[in-house]
Point group: C2
């Protein structure tokens, strides 16, 4: 039986929690292909001192080198609306579907993804929202750094 969108989100949410437990920015992602989790990842700004390992890009990196035919069957699941970089990564690999946990803490490239033909589903998930709200309140400087605002 196919995973529901909420079931798929659970893998990304688990990654966000792993990131939080590591002292990092709590944003997670999962790449789902043919109903299975091909890779997961989470923001590594703190853990690796990284400016490019966001949830989605870390997940793509963990997935390794894949042929276009695999990306073409993939769904990118992310706990938070994708920033411009992650939006671009989704477009580069022509991933046709994106599940977004929430977009009230941050509104990224959803409109641009749709313009370019990507299906974007926003779940408005309460757990994702609380995770980000608590994090942003606790570490506003780190959050603003992560989105290029500080």
């Amino acid at each position: 039986m196919a995973l529901t969108d909420t079931e798929q989100l659970a893998f990304a949410l688990n990654e966000a929690r792993v990131g939080l437990a590591e002292g990092g920015v709590p944003i997670g992602a999962a790449l789902i292909v043919d109903g299975e989790v091909l890779a997961v990842g989470h923001n590594q700004r703190v853990q690796l001192g990284s400016s490019i390992h966001h949830g989605e890009t870390d997940c793509l990196e963990n997935a390794g080198r894949l042929p276009a035919s695999v990306y073409a069957r993939a769904t990118m699941v992310t706990t938070l609306s994708p920033c411009d970089m992650c939006t671009g990564a989704i477009l580069l690999y022509k991933i046709p579907r994106v599940i977004v946990g929430e977009n009230s803490s941050f509104f990224g490239g959803e409109d641009y993804l749709r313009q370019r033909g990507v299906e974007v589903v926003v779940l408005d998930d309460e757990e994702c929202k609380k995770l980000m709200a608590d994090f942003i309140a606790a570490q506003p400087g780190l959050w603003n750094e992560d989105i290029g605002e500080e």
Copy 2:
């Protein structure tokens, strides 16, 4: 005396050649801030098995965590027109100026960068063009993988 655009491109071109010598995709980048090279990088698809370390993103990763005030004074120099992911990374960090070695081998997000207020200068550099033309002719599968086409 300030570096000319062509002098800035030389740092990126050198990185592209390093990548080629490593057996990789020959695309390089440099981040120039206040007239000095803050970081360089090159595509690491082959070397690291990476899907996210393109020239520009590898350069941003090598630059480490930077405050927005530094990105705001930066120029991203790349040997090849930036793909959607690298375009997005430039937008995320609000880098105001991009120098592109050439855009005849590949035309990326230049129009979108300009729409979003980024200054894009294309140098139409013969050495950059030859490097990519030779590489694409020699390894079309690797090149197409890198741009999500195969």
